[in-house]
Structures are given as structure tokens and as C-alpha cells.
């Protein structure tokens, strides 16, 4: 018994001495950026793009020896948390990053179902957050600390309706969308409204829906074909786009199929193949034929990870650069995290005409950017070609 006690005490003292990294006291001021990304769960590809973009950004900062604010260089740390593509996990991740890691700024979450509750957390703790990809108005509404990196659906719907009208002179459209998923449903409704404003009531001749994870769309597509619609609009994600386009062609659909920014993933073409060539969609940036900073980003990303970055990666990159600009604009980091967060938030709201790789941005009072949409044509080689740029008036 005695020996054991002695052993325990010696062990304890040893542990304490060994533990004293504490001999080099002091906690340095480090700028921490939190990334809230869906690394596991339903959309791991989105999480991967986010993570890679964040790592590339960190590389740049480290090459420069840190982030220069005022006259001082501060080391930067990126904290990446997995939100498992779940709402409660995104809330936990945000709470953890804000209270435990004491991040200065949060980038993410990407999907609206996580960005809405996570944005509430960020706003409560007065921590600036930017969601690069969430298109739901609720994410930033009445939340001064929450920003957004992309345009919203109420803008994208009319852009597409106008584009189709001008380009093809069509008057009858059909819509096929997922009723159980928030983004396609919202966008389908905005498109319908815009189209009917242009061509009168009942000009959307078929408004067909399905449920997430459906794989057979033949009944909806037959109805659409029978309805003598001239164009099919389907704001779906890459895996469904491939199925819809293929099945439509098999059933004898001849008209164009138009999509939205959810088509922007690199997977769309690899899954869909030649069926998708020649189709149009609206998105945040076009990879093929890009120039300047956009091209640099794409080339670097492709060299490192072996594929052309999709819009999530590009938007995340822009969001990180926006964060960087806002932090630099504050002119001073005090080390008092609450004060710094407020300063960064104010600097963020002041940013005017930020030159991002997905276009120029200025924030509205809601924290949403005013920026242009790009219409992309899928070329005969399967590349995303720039076709047209549409800016808000």
C-alpha cells in the first residue's frame, strides 16, 4: 500500500513537471478563423471543396508570414469543424468554435438548413459569420453579424426567366423540382412567379414535383412532354440532374433543359455525359475561359486536387478573402476577442466593390451581396463555358 502511494505521488509529480509546457507562460494573440463544413453526411463533396479552399487560403497566409493588421503580423489558425450535414451538429460546432476556440470569424455552414440555426448562434454571440453558399433569406435576415457570399434565389429566378425569354423567345415553360428540399422548392417558386410575370398566368404549363432520393421521373416527364412546354427548368443537384436529363431524352424531350447554380458541381458532367452538352445554367462563376485571379485559383486547385473546383470552393475562397479584408481593414487587433469581433463585423459591412473570383461584391444592409450571376453553357467537350453575365439593376 505504501509503495503504491509513493509510486502514485512520484508519477503525479512527474506528470506535472512534464506537463509544464506551462513553463513558457503566456497566451499569444492568434487570429483564428473557424470553418463549419459538412465533411461527413449527405454532401461530403461540398465539405471537401470547403476544406481544400480553406487550406489553400491558409497556405497563402503562411507564405506571407501571417496576417498583417496595422503594422503587426499575426499568426493565423484555421479551425475546421465537421457539421455532419445536420442542423444540431452545426449549432454545436459553432458554439464550440465561438466559446472554446474563440475564433474571430466563421466561414460556413454551406447549406441553409445548417446556416439558419448556426447563424442564430453566431449572431447571439456577436461573432461575424459568412455563409458562402446558403441561399435562404432567413440565414442573414435580422442578423447584423451574419453575411452571405452568394446571390439569393429571388434574384436567380428572374435572371433565368429573363434569359430564357431573350435567348429562345419561348413562352411556355415546365418546371420539375424536389418538393422536400428547401432550395429547389424555393427557386422553382421564384422562377414560376418571374415567368408568369413575363408571359401571363398559366404560362408555366407544367409544375411537377418529386421527393428527395427519387430516381424515376418518367411519369412527371411524360406529363411535361405532353404539356407542349418549350423549355424545362430543373433546379436540382448534380446526381438528380443526370437522371432527369437522361430520362427526358429517352422519353423524347427535344427542347433545352435549364438549371440553376446547383448544377455547378464538377460531378454534373461526369455523371450526365453527353446528354447535358449544350444545356444552360446560371451560376456564380464559369471555370472554362476564366481569367485573372479566377484562373489562378482554378489552376492551383486543379493542380493540387486533380479536378476543377466547383462553385462552393470558389465561394468559400471569396468568403475567406472577404474575412481577410475585413480583418485587415480593422487596422488593429486588440486581443480582446469581443471587441475585435465587433470591429471585424463593422469592417465587413463597410466593404465596397470587393473583387472576388466569383464577381464584385458589395453588401446590402441585410448582409447579402449585390453581385452578378453568370449563365454557363455546357460545351460540346463537357466544359462549363461562360455565356453571359447578368447583373442586378
Amino acid at each position: 500500500m505504501k509503495k503504491m502511494t509513493t509510486g502514485l505521488i512520484i508519477g503525479l509529480i512527474g506528470l506535472l513537471v512534464f506537463a509544464a509546457n506551462g513553463w513558457c507562460f503566456g497566451r499569444k494573440t492568434v487570429i483564428k478563423i473557424g470553418i463549419n463544413a459538412p465533411i461527413t453526411g449527405d454532401i461530403p463533396k461540398v465539405g471537401e471543396g470547403t476544406k481544400y479552399a480553406a487550406r489553400m487560403w491558409l497556405e497563402d497566409i503562411e507564405k506571407a508570414g501571417g496576417l498583417t493588421v496595422g503594422d503587426t503580423k499575426y499568426p493565423v489558425e484555421v479551425v475546421i469543424e465537421d457539421n455532419e450535414s445536420k442542423a444540431e451538429s452545426a449549432v454545436k460546432a459553432n458554439t464550440k468554435m465561438i466559446t472554446e476556440d474563440e475564433v474571430l470569424f466563421i466561414v460556413g455552414p454551406q447549406s441553409s438548413k445548417q446556416a439558419i440555426p448556426a447563424g442564430a448562434v453566431a449572431n447571439n454571440y456577436e461573432t461575424p459569420m459568412i455563409t458562402p453558399w446558403s441561399t435562404n433569406p432567413d440565414s442573414t435576415k435580422d442578423r447584423p453579424f451574419v453575411f452571405r457570399g452568394c446571390f439569393l434565389d429571388p434574384f436567380q429566378g428572374p435572371v433565368l426567366a429573363n434569359f430564357i425569354t431573350e435567348e429562345f423567345k419561348f413562352t411556355k415553360a415546365a418546371v420539375l423540382y424536389d418538393v422536400a428540399s428547401d432550395y429547389p422548392k424555393g427557386l422553382a417558386e421564384f422562377f414560376k412567379k418571374a415567368w408568369e410575370n413575363l408571359h401571363g398566368p398559366d404560362s408555366v404549363v407544367a409544375f411537377e414535383s418529386f421527393t428527395t432520393k427519387d430516381a424515376d421521373f418518367s411519369s412527371q416527364l411524360s406529363k411535361i412532354i405532353k404539356s407542349d412546354a418549350q423549355v424545362l427548368f430543373t433546379p436540382q443537384y448534380y446526381n438528380e440532374v443526370a437522371l432527369i436529363v437522361q430520362q427526358a431524352n429517352e422519353l423524347g424531350w427535344k427542347g433545352p433543359i435549364v438549371g440553376s447554380d446547383s448544377w455547378g458541381s464538377a460531378e454534373t458532367v461526369s455523371l450526365c455525359g453527353e446528354n447535358c452538352y449544350g444545356q444552360f445554367f446560371s451560376t456564380h462563376y464559369a471555370a472554362a475561359g476564366a481569367q485573372g485571379a479566377t484562373k489562378d485559383f482554378i489552376d492551383r486547385y486543379q493542380a493540387k486536387h486533380g479536378y476543377v473546383p466547383d462553385d462552393v470552393a470558389a465561394l468559400t475562397w471569396d468568403s475567406l478573402r472577404l474575412a481577410q479584408r475585413a480583418i485587415e481593414d480593422t487596422g488593429k487587433i486588440t486581443g480582446k476577442i469581443k471587441k475585435d469581433r465587433k470591429a471585424v463585423r463593422d469592417a465587413m459591412a463597410r466593404i465596397k466593390n470587393f473583387e472576388g473570383i466569383t464577381g464584385n461584391m458589395t453588401f446590402t444592409e441585410e448582409g447579402d451581396p449585390v453581385k452578378c450571376a453568370v449563365i454557363v453553357r455546357i460545351s460540346d467537350k463537357g466544359e462549363y463555358e461562360f455565356y453571359k453575365s447578368v447583373c442586378p439593376n
Binding site: M4, G7, N21, R27, A87, T95, V179
Partner: protein, 438 residues
Amino acid sequence: MDFKGESAKNMVNKKASQRKGRGVKAWLARVFGRIPLIGWLMGSLGAVLIEYFLGDALSYYLGLPKIPVLFGSSIILKKPALIPGALAYLLLVYALPVSLIAKSMTRPANRLARLLASRPVSLATLIHLGLFYLILHLWAEISDYRLLVLKLTMIAVMLTLSINVINGYMGEFSCSHPGFMALGAYGASITTLLLCVDDKLMGPALLPAAAGPWLFPLALIVGGIVASLGALVIAIPSFRTRGDYLAIISLAFLFIVKSLIENLEFAGGPRGMSGQPDYAGLPTVFIVMVLCVWTINNFVRSTMGKALCAVRDNELAAEAMTVNTRKTKIVTFMFAAFWAGVAGGLFAHVLRYVNPGSFGVQRLAEILAMLYFGGLNSVTGSIVGAVSFNLLSEALRPLELYKWIIIPLLFILVMLYRPTGLIAFTEFKPRELMRPKE
């Protein structure tokens, strides 16, 4: 002899215990076996008080960036250089104070336990619970992240317990629990949004804001009742079908609820509802959880509970022995669904956002995992299962993808070595738990 898997530190103890001819377990039993529950609670209280007042200074001295939030898990997994510091912190703040205080308080604690044992059991329970709440409160005071994890864990406890009533005690394989939870979440959310706050879905508040927190229990009950009514849809088919077929029906119910909510425009459709008032604080969640444990524990130990077990083992024989199987099934389904609904209501008000996507098959898998991990037919098992699953999945968060390899692996191991789960087929007896040990 039970040395397998013990740490190196315990190897020092080996000699001492070998001399007495017994294992580490026996040594632990000899040293700590006489401490009653209240002694442990006192020890834990001491530990959290130490953390509350000295934690910051101590973590500073040990070179840690902050107080390790979940027993140092993220520090250990992310920054290996700080492992000694984190271990020292755990030892100094948790392990040593708890064991020393508990040990030194053995005698007074036993005296107190004897005193309490001679009083009504409710008084003793209240004192224990009060002490337990105090510990949790002080522990959560350190960080809001802890608070959130704690609240969600308590909600998971309620869910696991309530599904145990159906899947464990009644022996039906029901997959509809996320559906009940969704009904409760939406029921409670609509009530509070309608009555207590101004928002764009439900319009201006009907009642003054001050009444809100007092009405919150009512909103939870509304959520529970909505879920119980939904449970009738499962309970009635369960008269005729059992086993796999009922599982299919209940799974169908889950999908029906999900698509129903997705198509309800006034409840936000697939976009979900946000802006629930912040009523679900730690005390509220704790009290509701305690009520849940209490009623479910009493329910399964009552005559009704015995009838449940009879239905599980042989429905025909139970019927022959005058058990009213129909009534038993209806009551059980509604009762379990009620608590799942209440848990859903709390969940909605902790996150302050609900969307139908949260109540899918993934949630079902989570609930079932907690249930079978902890063990069927056991209140303690459900609590242990829910708490360990939640803490584990939070502690392993830094591992990202590997987390979903490690946790399932752990489940497979548990199922191999303890096929019925960690603690199955045991009764939870508070009186036993609180008795003096001397």
C-alpha cells in the same frame, strides 16, 4: 484476476492487490465500496467547485489554451504535445478531488444517507437531485458549449428511454420515433410561436411576453399530446401485426409525418421554422428529463409494465392470463410517443430551429443505436447508452471521418461481448441507489 486493459498506472497497484490475493476490482471495492451515492455527489461537487474557481489558473499553469471543455478530448486528439497537461488537469481537477473528498466523507455521508433513508424517499430523492443539478449547473457554467452538449444529451436520454418502452419492454420493433419527435417539435414550436413571439409565419404574439416562460410547459404538453395522437396510427395496426410488419408500418409512419410537414406551408414546409423563443434553459430541460425518467420508471415497474413484458414474451398467453393486450398497446404507444414529443419540443427550443429533414432515417439510426448500445428493458441502460453515445460522438468530433469508423466499431464490439447491450434487463431502483453503504 482482472488486469486486462488496465493502464500502466494500475500495474503499480498490482503487487499490493496480489498480496491480498485479489484483483484491482476488489481493491477498488475495498477502498471505494463503502461510499454512498451522496458521498460521490459531494466529491463531484467539490471537483466542479475547484474547476469553477481554480480551473482557469490551473489550465494556465499547465500550459493549456483554455479549460479542457469535454474532459480534454479535443486537446488530446488535436494537439498531442499538450496531452500531459490535459491529463494532469483531469487528474488534479476531477479524479483526485472526487476520490479524495468522497473517501474522506465516507463516514458523514453514510450517516446522512442513513438519516435520509429513515425519511420519505421523495425527500432523499429531491436532495440528491438538487445536488446533482448543482453539479451540472456549475460544470456547464464554464462554457456554453458544455451547456449545449448537456442539454442535447438530456434530450437524447428522454428519447432513448421512451423508445425503450416500446422496443424493449413491449418488444415491438417501432421505427416511428423520429416521427413522434417531429410531431412534438412542431406542436410545441407552433404553440410558442403563435402565443409568445412575433414572427412572420404565425404573426404577432397573442399573449404578453412575460407569460411566455410560464406557458412553456404547456407548449411541451401540447407537443406531447400531438405526438400521442399520432401514435394511435401505429397502435391500432399493432393489434393485428407484429415484428417485421409492424416495423414497416412504423417506418411508413415516419415518412408520412416527414412529407406531411414538408407540405404544410404554414409550418414553413421544407424550409423549417425558426425563431423559437429561448425558453429551454438547463433547469427546464433537467426538470423535464427527471419527470420523464420518473414516470417511465414507475410505468415499467407498475402492473401495466408487467403486462407489457407479458405481451412481449407471448401475446396469446398474456391475453389468456386476462391481460388486456389492446389497451396495453394503445397506452404504451401513446405514453412513449408523449415523451418523445416532449423531447422533440425541447429539441426545437434548444436549437431554436426545426426542419423536417432533421427527423429522418438518420435520426432513427441514432436513437436505435443509443437504445441497443445501452441495453433493452433497462432504464439505467437507456441513460448510460444515451449519455455515452452523445459524449463519445462529441469527444471524437476532431477525428472527422474516422469518428464514424470508431463509433460503429465500438458498437460491434459491444454487441459481440455484451449482446444485449451494456446494461440490459435491470430495474432502476432509486431507493437502492441512495442507500447507506455501511
